[in-house]
Symmetry: C2
Amino acid sequence: MEKIEDYIELVKETIKFLREGKVVVCSIDKNNKPNLMTIGWGSIGIVWGEPVFIIFIRPSRYTYELIEQTGDFTLNVFDDKYKDIINYCGTVSGRNIDKFKETKLTPLKSKYVRSPLVEESIISYECKVIGKIDIKPEMIAKEIKEKIYKSGDYHRLYIGKILTCYKKTILDI
Amino acid sequence: MEKIEDYIELVKETIKFLREGKVVVCSIDKNNKPNLMTIGWGSIGIVWGEPVFIIFIRPSRYTYELIEQTGDFTLNVFDDKYKDIINYCGTVSGRNIDKFKETKLTPLKSKYVRSPLVEESIISYECKVIGKIDIKPEMIAKEIKEKIYKSGDYHRLYIGKILTCYKKTILDI
């Protein structure tokens, strides 16, 4: 993985893969067991003068528990080869399953955060939470509420400051 | 201005200009008088399955009042030629000043929203608010609170669904 100095070089590709549901959040528990969760929503930009990746996590998720404990996460973008694995990471809970073991993906030590990167990803980001914001029912369009929040469980936004990011180069493949 | 089918084609350039403080929010009051406000923060991505541009507006701003009334806004990206005008739009309030008149910028009828576009922009977006989220003091990192929120006035996030977007082509210049 090559370190990319400016995340702006990665935003187009990242959003493209994100809307295809090919981005996986990696977080870690207090016993240093990492977990994976596939996401299809998020946004990239600048907040409070910092480069940020904002992710949306429901309180019912195991990933929510872990990010609450550590205050950090990594984002890992996968290509089509990992389609089945990505689907799997979006459908089972890390409370009961060791997803790294099951998927045979490889955790890779991060430089700045506790949560590891995933070696097989083509793009990745290390993020530290600098703000959280909770979605409130009364502030969402009716059609969104009916479509997304039938069971409540309103998302918490994690504003993650991008500390560093990487891209796989020809040399890595 | 040429209509761009997929906003992903514009994200890199938009974030680049956004962090240089060259994006202007345009909103409109109930008497159809439009207003301009320069922003340097925001994020682009996918939320609730929709393409979105999230902007951060403080309740004290005139733009907040207008977006609360209409539920829409446009984003307009400017190049260096408009540097002075962009600075001006970030330092005076539309409560007292007609910024279109003062800057001689040209409002352009939007296709889907009430707020107009700005003809002189190089990239623009029409957005409809599908969600709002308020930042709470207790959920922000201490260093951000001290740097950004000394006077309180915590931002409201407007999650704007991107309804359409445009880019200036050689033919327009």
